[in-house]
């Protein structure tokens, strides 16, 4: 039997574990890499082979293209899967793999470069006839008359935002609700922009009121087939980071779903996109959607799509990379079976502003039972490093309806225990009780708004009963420790006797 093809997994943590699992199921060999602090990590333990790639800081290990390529050669790997993060959207890495005769499990370097630039991607979307957030395409001239400004504003629609071309951090930015306030807002924005950035150029962009973040996963093969999937709803975000993702979205109907999927596929086809990618949209209250950007990789939240379609996206990534035809049914990819929700569980202290809380995980109790999936790169006994993202796991549940899925999630969160470090589990237990979350009434501004309103209050205060339990537990633990210490000498003696007795019995 010829030795199997080997895949180098150029990543760490849960996504490396996820890719190893897909490789195993396809009969592919697995080559892991690890930095110094990851020697005992789960992805290293699960892989067929594991190779060191340097010190713990990512810049000296997981971001080193030269080392990745060298390990792939040394280990005899023929494919390279980049996971997400690190080098996953680095065109130079894809290029280096191809130059070394390795198959990069992802899009071409050209597609990565094109869709990685926000303005180039926006132009690609416009060229494909896909709506983008309406705005003026070029800066408004300094001497533009009020009539010109009014005409431009009317074209875009209110409410709109006057934005400094060189802006950032909210400076030189003004929201305008109607024509009456326009001229004054432009004057103020210009003078602010001039003072802050030395450039008074401004442009208009429609202000979406309470938009949702909804995205379309897609797969493309090397033979021209592109298959879009049912949407993922990712509006629960903290400081622009997704926290909870689900599929399907409550906010759109079948018609919008089909239209968004069609638009996503059009953009992908227009740039010859291959392998897995995701097109992100903003969606307003009237279900109008606007292209936001494209992610040219597998995404963190891919499991919710897998749960509602029954399609293994990572397996397809590998099959596509090996030149297979995408034989997936379009109808299956677009039709959600029931409902899936994912929570990203981090080693962060939600009661201290989500401060990272890396450290030794002493024990883990992972929820089980029907339709609960836990993608995890951390085990009991592993020290969560300070060098990378502090994700512990992605907890995913599936059930018939969203209501049932929320109940299952609530149950799974209660079961989940991580001992030794602070985690975001208490925050999720709070979130799933919020009426807005339970009823699916939220947009991208929801979480930051309610967190600000809470003013750092703990997500759950211990009740008097909790304090009683804790007092008993700590006292008993201290009692047991004292008695273990006292019994130490005798226990050693007793086990020495037992060992001696066993030796005699064996002779």
């Amino acid at each position: 039997m010829p030795s199997p093809l080997k895949v180098l997994i150029a990543n760490r943590g849960e996504i490396a574990v996820r890719v190893i699992r897909a490789c195993r199921e396809l009969g592919l060999g697995t080559v892991a890499i690890y930095s110094e602090c990851d020697r005992a990590a789960l992805h290293v333990r699960l892989a067929d082979e594991a190779w060191p790639i340097g010190p713990s800081p990512a810049a000296e290990s997981y971001l080193r293209i030269d080392k990745m390529v060298a390990v792939a050669r040394q280990a005899g790997a023929s494919l390279v899967h980049p996971g997400y993060g690190f080098l996953a959207e680095n065109g130079a890495f894809a290029e280096a793999c191809l130059a070394a005769g390795l198959t990069f499990v992802g899009p071409t370097p050209q597609a990565i470069a094109r869709m990685g630039s926000k303005t180039a991607a926006r132009q690609a979307a416009i060229a494909a006839g896909v709506p983008v957030v309406p705005g003026t395409e070029s800066p408004l001239p300094d001497d533009a008359s009020e009539a010109v400004l009014a005409a431009e504003a009317a074209r875009i629609g209110f409410p709109l935002v006057v934005k400094a071309v060189s802006g950032g951090g909210g400076k030189g930015m003004r929201t305008v609700d109607g024509p009456a306030d326009l001229a004054a807002a432009v004057r103020v924005a210009r003078s602010e922009a001039k003072a802050a950035f030395g450039d008074s150029a401004v442009y208009f962009e429609r202000r979406l009121v309470a938009p949702r973040h909804i995205e379309i996963q897609l797969l493309g093969d090397e033979h021209g087939t592109v298959v879009p999937f049912v949407e993922r709803e990712c509006s629960i975000q903290r400081r622009h980071q997704k926290v909870v993702e689900e599929s399907p979205s409550r906010a759109i109907g079948d018609e919008t779903r089909r239209a968004m999927a069609e638009c996503a596929a059009k953009v992908a086809r227009s740039v010859g996109y291959t392998n897995a990618g995701t097109i992100e949209f903003l969606v307003d209250r009237d279900e109008r959607f606007y292209f936001l950007e494209m992610n040219t990789r597998l995404q963190v939240e891919h499991p919710v799509t897998e749960m509602v379609t029954g399609v293994d996206l990572v397996a397809w990534q590998l099959r596509i990379a090996r030149g297979e035809r995408l034989t997936l049914s379009h109808a299956r990819a677009l039709t959600p079976r029931a409902h899936a929700i994912e929570c990203r569980v981090y080693a962060e202290d939600p009661d201290r502003g989500f401060l990272p809380s890396p450290g030794l995980v002493r024990a883990i109790n992972v929820p089980g039972g029907p339709w609960v999936r836990d993608d995890r790169g951390v085990t009991a006994g592993f020290e969560i490093p300070v060098f990378y993202d502090s994700m512990i796991s992605k907890l995913v549940v599936w059930d018939d309806t969203r209501e049932a899925a929320v109940r299952r999630l609530t149950r799974a969160l209660d079961e989940y225990r991580v001992v030794g470090v602070r985690t975001t589990l208490p925050f999720f237990r709070w979130l799933v009780e919020q009426p807005e979350f339970r009823e699916g009434r939220f947009d991208t501004t929801y979480l930051d708004r309610v967190l600000a309103e809470r003013q750092g209050r703990p997500f759950r205060d211990p009740s008097p009963a909790d304090e009683t339990y804790a007092s008993v537990a700590v006292s008993v633990a201290a009692w047991l420790r004292a008695h273990r210490a006292a019994a130490g000498a005798t226990t050693d003696e007793a086990s020495a006797w037992r060992r001696a007795a066993r030796r005699e019995a064996l002779q």
Partner: protein, 171 residues
């Protein structure tokens, strides 16, 4: 054995008495909290301890002693911090005695001090931001654990710190 258990503002006196088969790996106990007795069956588990009280209530709990001598207690729905025998420990380690009423804010992870938001003598509220540390590519605010007066600020802007480094002392 009797312990003083401090949780939040309240201190409880808890005496633990082993009943019958109680031994180093668990058994039956009587825990008397401020005079009120609770009978509890205890077993060691992978997580920590399984407690079953006389009324049938089952509680799976992990109690980990941290480097600072506090206990990090993880109950099924809530985490909390407990201090055991503060007075006794402070007698044994006189260095700590001076720290009564003082709260030391230390770096929870290695990083770089981006901003110092308070100076010695400032009055601070509970949860008021004191120092901003950059770590894991994120800026993190360290907040005051209590309302009080800033006593010391060993942290300086731009400084690289290792985990556990003292940044601010609040009294």
């Amino acid at each position: 054995m009797t312990f003083e258990i401090e949780i939040g503002p309240r201190t409880r006196t808890v005496s633990i008495e082993g009943l019958g088969a109680a031994g180093p790996s668990g058994g039956q106990f009587r825990a008397t909290i401020d005079g009120e007795p609770h009978e509890v069956s205890v077993r060691s588990t992978d997580l920590g301890l399984s407690l079953v009280f006389a009324d049938g209530r089952s509680i799976d709990v992990a109690a980990t002693e941290t480097a600072s001598g506090e206990w990090f207690v993880q109950l099924p729905h809530v985490d909390l911090t407990a201090v055991v025998d503060r007075r006794r420990r402070e007698r044994v380690r006189p260095g700590v005695a001076a720290a009564a009423g003082l709260q030391r804010v230390t770096a929870p992870m290695p990083g770089r001090v981006v901003r110092v938001l308070v100076k010695v003598g400032d009055l601070v509220e509970v949860r008021q931001p004191l120092v901003v540390i950059e770590a894991m590519k994120m800026e993190n605010e360290l907040t005051s654990p209590k309302a009080g007066t800033v006593k010391e600020v060993p942290a300086s802007e731009g400084q690289s710190v290792e985990a556990g480094r003292l940044l601010v002392v609040v009294e």
